[in-house]
Symmetry: C2
Subunit: 413 residues, 2 copies
Amino acid sequence: MKGNVIVGQSGGPTAAINSSLAGVYRTARDRGANKVYGMLHGVKGLMEEKYIDLSEHIKSDLDVELLKRTPAAYLGSCRYKLPDIHQDMSTYEKIFEILNKLDIETFIYIGGNDSMDTIKKLSDYSLLTGSEIKFIGCPKTIDNDLALTDHTPGYGSAAKYIGTSVKEIIRDSYCLEYDKGVVTIVEIMGRNAGWLTGASILAKGEDCVGPDLIYLPEVVFDLNKFKEKVIKLLEKQPSVVVAVSEGIHTSDGKYVCELGSSVDFVDAFGHKQLTGTASYLCSFIAGELGCKTRAIELSTLQRSGSHLASRVDILEAYQVGGAAVLAADEGDTGKMVTLVRHSDDPYQCGTEVKDVHKIANDEKLVPREWISKDGSYVTNEFITYVRPLIQGDVSPIMVDGIPRHLFRPVERK
Amino acid sequence: MKGNVIVGQSGGPTAAINSSLAGVYRTARDRGANKVYGMLHGVKGLMEEKYIDLSEHIKSDLDVELLKRTPAAYLGSCRYKLPDIHQDMSTYEKIFEILNKLDIETFIYIGGNDSMDTIKKLSDYSLLTGSEIKFIGCPKTIDNDLALTDHTPGYGSAAKYIGTSVKEIIRDSYCLEYDKGVVTIVEIMGRNAGWLTGASILAKGEDCVGPDLIYLPEVVFDLNKFKEKVIKLLEKQPSVVVAVSEGIHTSDGKYVCELGSSVDFVDAFGHKQLTGTASYLCSFIAGELGCKTRAIELSTLQRSGSHLASRVDILEAYQVGGAAVLAADEGDTGKMVTLVRHSDDPYQCGTEVKDVHKIANDEKLVPREWISKDGSYVTNEFITYVRPLIQGDVSPIMVDGIPRHLFRPVERK
């Protein structure tokens, strides 16, 4: 590599996004990049010329290992949508001025759907203006909803956290007995795609019954059918555990969480912030059946639980970071690295690069046939898909009883 | 030992209560007990003659290791308060009839304050009637509020889970920037005692700022002072993370979670079920400051997160189970095993037995001097106390990517 590399992180945090950062850094250094910069808080920070020299932060092999075990975005993240090129050239001129000043040859952006939109626009602008900077996207999202890739780094670790936590919740739920039974509803992230909620099935095994009902946002949710299912289950068992996606909605398109309260917060991409689905369903069930209920939101824990990361996930995230640098160095631009599964058992998976225009803003949902007919469970195909992605552990580096992370002091005002 | 042993689990689940069960079982077998029975769902199940022969469940050394790593109560638990002896002799006659039928010599009850009340009453009745059955209590509670013992098995693992999770939440909270900042409020269990909430301080270290504010139920909570603190913090940093106990209350004795909604569920001991403290405070802060907020309840995850158990805790829980059997075999009754700390560094701790009459229904709170003057943080004394209790790991036995537990098939109706 001749020039410099700049890398940014964008969108929601995951347990694996820093492993991709480590992969970018290491591969860029190995391939002779002069400087590897990290933009702080993605393109938003870059536009304010906020960036760091990563070699001042990652000083040893131990730092690389710590970075792989550090949840959330080491560089800080953003949810910033670039304007359309024809609408606002000045934004692009500004970004390219900064990139040129830093002698950037390769621009890597680690993120999800919205971030691939950024890669698409920047690479388009680059081609329009004859810039030689290469723009490559590196997939990241716990939601696993990116098109064209078998799965997305970050998903496997979240799935492992969800499977383990739901199993522990089930164990807990059978402990105390209540006259009319107890219904526990676990709310899992996923606005439109049920990949995370489906992963609750991983709790099931020889030693655990698993969740009794699993509701994904791909299928319309029916409150009354749900109630009937719960009634039938409570007739034969003392505890019922239900996994629901935060994004489940009724036939009129209304989110279940909106049935109970008004939700106003909307982010820069127009996404509503969803919360309270489990609470609403608990109130509903308690009101209808008079039984004890408990709502549990896995909240940000499920995306930042790096103490329980999947080894497959963390290694793939690292590998994908390296593949992004390699692709740029070989002349690719406007591409995203994808994971291609060659085999389920033994699990084999490699990387390719695909045109980012085919990926940006497209959402990959759980296939309807991987969800049971009545929409209240997932099928064996789903399990076969997710199981290899949670294999192996990345043992935390414990210091005084708590996992150690790589620390970037936060800018104080 | 001549006769048989029966052991029960009572009160809320923890990650360590099964390790005490393993300790009871092993020590009883080692000391020659003929049968070791487990009552299902504590004395409540025992009164319905629901019990199992533990040797049919724990068949190998591997099973013992699995049991130590299985969260919640393997035998099932209950919250059952025995009537006063003079009010209802028949309950006691019934229990003793069952115990005599099973040729029980030793009765071990693993639980918290309410469970020690059970041991007290049963041993009192035993002495009154000249029975030779020995009754010993084995301490267990994540709340760490039992009197006379330095700490309680279950607390260390919960503290480790809380410290680790709060650290991951802090990492996550600094990821995305919001115009007016973001305030994350983490709700932690503890009705009257702040031991668990205080453990959030463990997130703090060379690599993490730790929670910004920590509110324990031992100190009156002032909404306006809280708001002022948050405003000041947001002036200098983009993210504020606050740890609050579910039991914090205002000067008029009202729980904060009651300020927003009505709470009706009350258990057999008259305890209100508390939930919604973080939600209420988030609404309050969002309303007052207009900033982004996020409420996170650690809920049952904090008490059943055995994948992140503390080695010190799990080993002490095991040891305490064994000590209970030993005490009974040496003739003690009406006693509870306690942990006695000899030294903080190096950490040294042993067991003793103490009169259960001095323990039952008494709550050990965090000393006022271990909480900062203004009631918004804990002191170094608190850290010195808790730090040794979270040391070391009990690596989960992973099967296909998920921790394996010892499984007791649940009674289907």
